[in-house]
Symmetry: C2
Subunit: 112 residues, 2 copies
DNA sequence: GATTTGGTTGGACAGCGATCAAACTAAACA
DNA sequence: TGTTTAGTTTGATCGCTGTCCAACCAAATC
């Protein structure tokens, strides 16, 4: 039920957030969390072809950047986005990243 | 008058853009370009306490990620944001990053 | 208490990236 | 043509980072 260290909402730094999102594995993870909500690490790991210790590393990067919150519940961890807090500090940022991650706009083909 | 290599608008990758923005020097440079428009490298370098070869490296990262366009004009280079193209592909992304970079929202103090 | 389970930590490794200095290149100018 | 100017390229350094494996740890279960 406790929460490992994370930055207070007012101290989340943009560069850290961008850096946390600038990795394919973490970006996919964030997109997944956005669509599925809170998830157990086990469930996430099951779908990712990466060692569990590597995933643990990514969880930490996201958490320490202020992107996610990890709640310890018994012997499992639940991870979810700090969506509202992030949006309060950097309005529109997370949403535009998520929309970019899931629906990048393709250029319309030119005929002629 | 020629333009060094840059990705076509439709092939700009989100991870590359985020990675390009996830550096203090480049983020500041992008914010500066957003407020001042196109600039010569010399002018930019003058205000940044970083070696010119380092700046050249940053210009390349931004350009190859699709964030900026560099136009060679005689013996000087003009750098500017590919604002419209970026916004067409990842709507709202650049603007939210710029607004986050220049006006991060501070939490309101609680009097209690 | 011993074992299983879910996840972290530490070590090792390879690769990358930010930085500076020095050498280089191409354009402009004297 | 030689020199200055604007910026790139190359080389070196050094710290960071993504990855795996092995060891560890705490909670839950037997």
């Amino acid at each position: 039920m406790n929460v490992p260290w994370e930055p207070p909402a007012g101290e989340i730094r943009l560069v850290d957030v961008l850096d946390a999102l600038a990795d394919p594995v973490r970006l996919a993870l964030v997109a997944r969390l956005a669509s599925l909500g809170s998830e157990k690490c086990t469930d996430i790991n099951a779908d990712v072809n990466v060692h569990k210790s590597t995933m643990s590393h990514h969880y930490r990067v996201l958490r320490e950047a202020g992107v996610t919150r990890t709640v310890v519940h018994g012997r499992q961890r639940w991870v979810r986005l700090r969506h509202a807090e992030l949006d309060a500090r950097f309005p529109g940022l997370l949403d535009s990243v998520l929309s970019a991650a899931t629906h990048p706009v393709q250029p319309t083909a030119r005929h002629g």
